[in-house]
Amino acid sequence: MATMTMVQALNAAMDVMLTRSGDVVVLGEDVGYFGGVFRCTDGLQRKHGRSRVFDTPITEAGIMGIAVGMAAYGLRPVAEMQFADYIYPACDQLISEAARLRYRSGGEFTAPVTVRAPYGGGIFGGQTHSQSPEAIFTHVAGLKTVIPSTPYDAKGLLISAIEDDDPVMFFEPKRLYNGPFEGYHDRPVVPWAKHPASAVPDGHYAIPLGKAATVRSGTAVTILAYGTMVHVALAAARDAQVDADIIDLRTLVPVDIEAIETSVRKTGRCVIVHEATRTGGFGSELSALVQEHCFHHLEAPIERVTGWDTPYPHAFEWEYFPGPARIAEALRRVMEE
């Protein structure tokens, strides 16, 4: 078993799948010879050949439409969008086509495409390299949405996404690509290799889609988080000295309602954290679910800690980012009730 960064783990997942099945192909801007601007596909073209791993023209709509056609043939394309911020041109092919192909063809045609995209802030990317657009895609019937928070999960979830028979949006927290984020923006990043928890098994293993993980067991309050925010939530619980039950959702659609219900029924309190803007964010959906399923168990109003309803700024990204202090404050508020 090796210790790996998330980039290496994602690379290993694609390598395993390219090796196991001749139907898997990897395509996207700069993913071939160069191995991707974040290096996630490094070495894959050399190993698997140019018709299995290749650079595309710069056209997200084109990449998506071509991936749907390849999937209709029977391949399993893994398409990289260089940044999640650039998925929007692909939206028609993604939302109107890939998501509904199975439905509209009575199940005869399907689009088992995996769309990989680095998302989130914390790298001084300004308003076009920092967005968290996951909620948009959770609103689309027919798509699954997955977001890992550790190298181990990244590999296992990506393998499941590629094996899944439906189109999967796979958002990669780029803040975690090259080392874990301790949750605090003002402290140095420790490489994953120094964290025993980041050991990643060789070969094939799958983490089922739709299953959340408990990253910290507690009894006082439930924190629902995913991606980078899992690490911020851990830091916040430490800072606030609250015995939090922290659930890493891992898959947003289908979401693990059982894990959410079990935890909130146990704790009676719920804080929801995401980096995306607040209004209409996935936190709204989670909040509604908790209200529907756990209303009689709640001892305090549900709290949401999110990015602000502004585009992502460049100089003020740490004022934008929901850091541990803001989460800790929410934790104290719900504990007072």
Binding site: P57, I58, R278, H314, F316
Partner: protein, 414 residues
């Protein structure tokens, strides 16, 4: 007995590969460079169908000795030529200073336009000050040629207290309505259809101003490029559609954008748009072609597509290492030379310039950039501030701040 011939040979995929990769000899010998002065110059009212050859030719004015030759020579005054040279040198010095600032941690990111200075500078000079420009991140020369203050640009790069974009945009994503410089997007290609929309609006209102847009050869694969050409052609929009073919889109060579099969200028032909292919390292050729296109647009004859044939000599950005995907120092071997060197050589050949005066100018430009740099840093840098108040983060999202943003601003404590 002969082996049986398979009825159907297996199909295979062609994935374009550049002729050279790291470690191989730099070789541009297969590049066809026609001699300067040979491309014909049609009248500005020439129908697109009668000039299709120019989408495959290469408009060049400056020959190897620095003489201006052929029908495209714009016969510029010494004063104009000298202004062009000075602006190009300013762009290069500015780029070097800002790249250094990035390496020193004073900003997060920077993008140089080394080797492409003639494009933005000559084009800015060939249109009117009132015309609206829709640039990419590699046309800082437009602002510099329009004498927009360097300090102002630098403050944006530093996201500091003097940043007119209030710390919101990534470095180099300038915006100045006053300078006729449209706000730069990080999303490739979106400015192209917007430029056509602006030009159509100008025509609807009976205005006299035209628009100009720039796009990289890589980004021509985006839908916006094609939407723009369709509208520009259908409505004969008064717009100059510039396409900078610098041969590389991050690590992907122009073949990945379709450059193996035909020229990028030829993309315009299918839309019935007159299309020129121009030596982008030749200040005079760029100026002349742009003037030609501007005259056409102003005469209600519609759009022109100009492919500016050049080479990205430096890295894509400060986040990029080109030695990973192309031979090191490839830009220095570009057969069409360096735009600044070529214009300098021309001025010397004209007898109105000398190496000594060139050195004086280089010194003067360096001093101007250095002084501007000092002044900009006095307003703050990204690593240390000062910045504007984080309160500005909540402004300009809407014209008036709605209740939920006002509440969030209070929660943020700013």
């Amino acid at each position: 007995m002969d082996a049986p011939v398979p009825v159907r040979a297996p199909l295979s995929l062609h994935v374009p590969e550049p002729p050279q990769r790291p470690g191989s000899e730099i070789d541009f010998s297969t590049l066809a460079v026609p001699p300067a002065g040979t491309a014909r110059r049609p009248d500005t009212d020439c129908p697109a169908a009668d000039m299709t050859d120019l989408a495959y030719d290469l408009v060049r004015v400056l020959d190897d000795q620095g003489h201006a030759v052929g029908p495209w020579d714009p016969a510029l005054s010494p004063d104009t030529l000298m202004r062009g040279l000075r602006s190009m040198m300013m762009v290069r010095a500015y780029d070097e200073r800002m790249q250094r600032a990035q390496r020193q941690g004073k900003t997060s990111f920077y993008m140089k336009c080394t080797g492409e200075e003639a494009i933005a500078v000559a084009q800015a000079m060939a249109v009117d000050r009132g015309d609206m420009l829709f640039p990419t991140y590699r046309q800082q020369g437009l602002l510099i040629a329009r004498d927009w203050p360097l300090v102002n640009m630098m403050c944006q790069v530093f996201s500091n207290a003097g940043d007119r974009l209030k710390g919101r945009q990534m470095p180099v994503f300038y915006s100045s309505k006053e300078a006729g410089f449209f706000s730069i997007s990080g999303n490739l290609g979106t400015q192209y259809s917007q430029a056509v929309g602006w030009a159509m609006a100008s025509a609807i209102k009976g205005d006299t101003r035209i628009a100009a847009a720039w796009i990289g050869e890589g980004a021509t694969a985006e839908g916006d490029f094609h939407h723009a050409l369709t509208f520009a052609s259908v409505y004969r929009a008064p717009v100059i559609l510039n396409l900078v073919n610098n041969h590389w889109a991050i690590s992907s060579f122009h073949g990945i954008a379709g450059g193996e099969r035909t020229t990028f200028a030829a993309r315009g032909l299918g839309y019935g748009i007159p299309s020129l292919r121009v030596d982008g390292n030749d200040f005079l050729a760029v100026f002349a072609a742009t003037r030609w296109a501007a005259a056409r647009a102003r005469a209600n004859l519609g759009p022109t597509l100009i492919e500016l044939f050049t080479y990205r000599a430096a890295a894509h950005s400060t986040s990029d290492d080109p030695a990973k995907y192309r031979p090191e120092n490839a830009g220095a071997h570009w057969p069409l030379g360096d735009p600044i060197d070529r214009l300098r050589q021309h001025l010397i050949a004209l007898g109105i310039w000398s190496e000594a005066r060139q050195e004086d100018l280089a010194r003067e430009v360096a001093e101007v950039v250095q002084a501007a740099g000092k002044e900009a840093e006095s307003h703050g840098t990204l690593d240390k501030g000062p910045f504007q108040s984080a309160r500005t983060m909540f402004e300009d999202v809407y014209k008036t701040m709605p209740w939920h943003l006002e509440r969030q601003r209070q929660q943020a404590g700013v």
